[in-house]
């Protein structure tokens, strides 16, 4: 439960930090501000990842099958699933992407 609330705050905070990008980006000097915001977001995300790995050392998830017991399994699944999804989506976009007015013609 403790971990649960921590991670929630963390996620929200991360979004907030990332968000400064857009906010400051509006005022004109977009480039450096955006880079700064992104750096903050990346650091926050990396910190969360390390915290989650540390937490999983303390209480490891229930292993249901032979392959899911090792340390960092969920981290691997989380990251690789996103990568695979982006690849599949990109492929889908190549074949199925159309212009905004496709149906209005």
């Amino acid at each position: 439960m403790k971990n649960g609330t921590t991670s929630q705050k963390g996620q929200t905070g991360q979004t907030g930090k990332t968000g400064q990008t857009g906010q400051t980006g509006q005022t004109g000097h977009a480039g450096p501000a955006m880079a700064k915001g992104r750096l903050l977001a990346l650091r926050a995300a990396a910190g969360l990842c390390l915290a989650s790995l540390g937490a999983s050392l303390l209480a490891h998830g229930p292993a249901h099958f032979g392959f899911d017991g090792f340390f960092g399994f969920h981290a691997l699944v989380g990251f690789l699933a996103c990568a695979a999804l982006v690849l599949v989506t990109g492929l889908a976009g190549v074949f199925l992407g159309r212009g905004e007015e496709f149906y209005d013609r």
């Binding site: 649960g4 969920h74 982006v86």
Partner: protein, 597 residues
Amino acid sequence: MIASLHPALPLFAGAALTGFFGKKTGGAVSLAAALASVWAVSALPGDGGTSLSLHPAGLSLEFLRADRLAVLFAWIFTLSASLACLFSFGRQSAAERAATLAYAGSALGAVFAGDMVTLYVFWEAMALAAVFVILAGGTERSRAAAYRYALVHLFGGICLLAGLALLAAKTGSTAFTAALLADGGPGPLLVLAGFLINASAFPFSAWLPDSYPESSPTGAVFLSAFTTKTAVYVLIRGFPGYGLLIAAGCLMILYGLVYALRENDLRRLLSYSITNQVGFMLVGVGIGTPQALNGACVLAFCHILYKSLMFMSAGSVIAATGKRKLTELGGLFSAMPLTFAATVVGAMSLSALPGTCGFVSKPMVIAATAEAHMALVWLFLEAASAGTLLYAGLAVPYFVFFGQSPGAPGASPKAAPSREAPPAALAGMGLAALACLGIGIYPWPLYALMPYAAPEFVPFLPGRITAVFELLAFAGLFFALYVPVLRRRPGITLDTDWFYRTGGRFLYRLADAVTGGINTAALDTAARAVAALRRLTARGPQKLAALTVTLFFPLLGKNAHRLRDEAVLAAQTWTPPVGVTLAAALLGLCLILVLVL
């Protein structure tokens, strides 16, 4: 009698009445009707003992089968209708108020229906009411979308009707039970097809992102709650443990992920997310163990809450800015901080973060797959949970409230509106958000409503929490690393509605070509016939005269040519020489004589 008031009745009464009042009073009537239906559900005994039936024409119509499964869905339907009425208080047109209440009432009617005929009637009523909710969007696009929605759902309704007719003919019963539907044959398959079309199962899924985003900002909140979840309910009731549903669910999850990740329109993205989440429920139904079915029920309950919340915040953003594309939105945090907070709660619930209602519901289904020893399905669901954070959990709050596209039309500070959603809308979002967090922290009242007896599910195992935390943290890292890649771009992605949208257009053109072709050919033929007739009447007499004279050439000797010319001239000018007139008169007289004799 009061104890068994059908919870749909206050909603139908409200639908009949609310149109007669103005926006505020009508909104209050809607809200009162929805709250009355919540009260009616709370007054149900809940032990399955209540029933309200009629027996017309040899049929047995059961309107109020109030067992635990139906009551669980009735709770969330009436509660979400109340929240949606509160959210849209004072902003809906009379037609939309009436349509949304009738829509919620029909969904409740379908949930309590104890036989297939009653179910079918409320099923169609629900589709019809939804068409009017979409139409209340009031744009050209919403009219077209409502028409396509009606076509798809009429097709689904016909499947259901055909299935129930076949089933009734075979078994002699119209009861709606899993035992009857487990019979096999074409009847149950058609019923299943009708259910799956409403569940937005791939490939019959495109109607959902096609229609919901075209409704008004308030109408979409109602639409997001009922149709697909009614389908989940009837699948739990009619097809528990039907293995095909696992595959259908996984396909829906993947489809929802891929399309939502590409989608630029905010509410279309959320629509794809509905299909994605309903996929999880279908997997639970397909596994069919009591724990999995309970998981599907609880997930449906929580999903209605957080998806309503997300549609509310999306509607607020769209109402405030008039923009609906992620590429055009962004930077709204300072203008709408409360809406942002609601969006974050909804998005985190969707991503099943510990502490939100998603975490106490989705892992039930995932744990059920593990207990059923479906390693691949389990891995797929875990991976899909990470994907959920990627396509909506972080993307929606970030792209709407912070990260503005460079060069977006609204990129100037002036374009950003500085108004928060109206107080009633904020109250609706706030209550929904509180419910999401409350269930996430203290889920036991919800667990007490679970319809099937199963081993107790313990959500807050330390190991489960750390595993989810780890999964989501690394998905979050991916998001932070690849934001530029994940940024949406203008354009659409072809979906299965391409077949009937371009197919319809092709049919129209084909029909146009065929009927137009027949039309042209007929015109042409008629014109030719008229011309031929004209030629015949103009030159026919001369030719006939010349022919007649030519026949007698040997008899006429040297006068033959002159006589023929005279006959032609006579036929042309209708002034025959006396001789010819005399001959004709004689001939006529002879004819009369012959006839008389």
